[in-house]
């Protein structure tokens, strides 16, 4: 067998093993289900419904002052909307967008923490290292077991979110207003890259720590750039349009590739076994 060729049967076996374990791990599974439910269904649903009953009248000056800080293209877009519609679109289309970066990052890093550091903690890694799988096959299988659920959660969350915001804000908007082109690019291009960043960071962090908790806490720092994105957007510095999302996605994929390259170089069973 060509030693540089991946044995996909072995890769799938590693991924299937880790996915089965994730399916049966409440501490990993619960946040993956509950957090999206709260962030993508309950909160946006409430905002959509409130949008129709809200009296913006007294706050109209505040809203107008706030909108003057926004980038010109966004202001131009909002000219077609009533005050209530502006509020709904600003919150549900723009403010919630970064949630779809946090979600895949969090899902991927949570599973990867269990798959890499957690496995060291549970002392279940050694038998895996004695199999004929190569280091690359082992790592690829483990990474896929974290990346695939992250993408699935994002896609399912996106479908749910699309239904929830259109239904809940129907009275205000009177038409299907979501998703727009920026969101499609965000979900198909930027979110998978965000999942890759969460995953890659966790693989590197896991090589230095020995417990799931340590890995999860350290790896959580990866959401900091997304927090900056949210602040930049609220401050009117960043306008999430197709071009920005494409550019941010490209940057993130390059960072992912660099992390992946480094992870492949450092993921050595001899290093792992020496730390067990």
């Amino acid at each position: 067998m060509n030693r540089n060729r991946l044995n996909w049967r072995a890769v799938r076996a590693v991924a299937a093993r880790d996915l089965t374990i994730v399916r049966r791990s409440k501490n990993v599974l619960l946040p993956i289900i509950l957090v999206p439910l709260l962030l993508l269904v309950i909160i946006p649903g409430a905002i959509g419904f409130l949008g129709s009953s809200m009296d913006v009248g007294s706050d109209i000056e505040d809203l107008e002052r706030f909108l003057t800080m926004m980038p010109e293209p966004m202001k131009a877009q909002f000219e077609q909307y009533t005050e209530n519609q502006t509020m709904v679109v600003f919150i549900l289309v723009y403010t919630f967008a970064p949630m779809f970066l946090i979600l895949p990052m969090m899902t991927a890093s949570s599973i990867a923490a269990g798959s890499f550091a957690g496995e060291k903690e549970r002392k279940t890694m050694e038998a895996l290292l004695y199999t004929p799988t190569t280091d690359l096959e082992l790592m690829t299988g483990k990474m896929l077991s974290a990346w695939i659920p992250a993408i699935l959660v994002t896609l399912v969350g996106f479908v749910l979110y699309s239904v929830v915001v259109n239904v809940s804000a129907w009275q205000t908007m009177g038409r299907i207003f979501f998703p727009n082109a920026m969101w499609v690019v965000l979900i198909l291009w930027l979110a998978p890259a965000a999942a890759g960043l969460g995953l890659g960071t966790m693989v590197l962090v896991s090589s230095k720590v020995n417990t799931y908790q340590d890995a999860y806490q350290l790896g959580a720092m990866v959401v900091l750039p997304v927090i900056l994105l949210i602040l930049g957007q609220i401050g009117g510095v960043i306008y999430l349009n197709v071009a920005f999302v494409l550019g941010a996605g490209l940057l993130l994929w390059i960072v992912d590739a660099a992390i992946l390259w480094f992870a492949v170089k450092t993921f050595r069973r001899s290093e792992i076994i020496a730390r067990l």
Binding site: R17, R24, R122, A127, T131, P132
Partner: protein
Amino acid sequence: MTRNDVIIRTENLTRHFGDVVAVQDLTLDVRAGEVFGFLGHNGAGKTTTVRLLNGILGATSGTVEVLGLNPLTDGPALRRRTGVLTETPSLDDRLTANETLTIYGRLYGVDRGRLRTRVADLLGQFDLLDRCDALVGGFSRGMRQRLALARALLHDPEVIFLDEPTAGLDPVGRREVHDLITELSRSGGRTIFMCTHDLAEAQKLCGRVGVMGEGNLVALGTLEELAHSLQKGVRLEIELDEQPGPAVLDPQTESPTATSPMAALTWDEATHTAGAWLPTRASIPDLIDNLVASGARIYGVRRQEPSLEDVYFALHDSREGIPPEGDAHSGGEA
């Protein structure tokens, strides 16, 4: 590969972890079809050696060859032909026994068409069939050990590394594992490399043993070779009607009944048995003559070969600088 071909060969194999020496200058041959015992206390370097031999750990220096392959550069090809039972079973609680074996079967490259039958056979052989769909988290220690052993044998490996194979097993389970090891070696022609603390187990199963101490191989050979190298002599047990007189007992006396300085007799009142360490088997008739001459009535004489335990502790004592005491570790009758 035929019997007596060298399967495992190391030369000056050394592994350091920073300043800690895990294995130092290990030179060793293991032949095809033999059950080789690898003995030593915790931290002596046994598990590190198994890791080096399977290519999951690189050596600091020295050479190693298993089945004609370099474990570090040909690791995947080698591990397809070796099976390892790790010291801790290394099983995930959230998989069932069936899932565990099926997944590892795929990882070991067991043929798709054969995998299901192979898994069922092993679950049956290790008495796990009725719990095959239960999560491993609910298994007893013995069941885990049996499942881990089944996993190590999934792909019919040519060389099997067993790290404490009977740890946690009840006497029946231990006997079954012992029978399996014997069967694998005799009929299956497998080479077994067994790390163990259990000296009786090693004596029962192993043709040759290597004894590790602080990362060094302190002894290597058959039990007889090791006993000879330690010059433990011959142990004799003599059943008498009463305790022999002082002339026989006192090795320092100039009395004609004295046999040799090594023939200091001990006496066990409960069994009416005198024990002695003699330098060679040629001394046996002299001692018997002396006893008869002193009027002792002899009901039985048993020559005992030194056990692996005798040899192991003698090695341990010599490394600790404790002078040999003949039968110091040979049992309660002494």
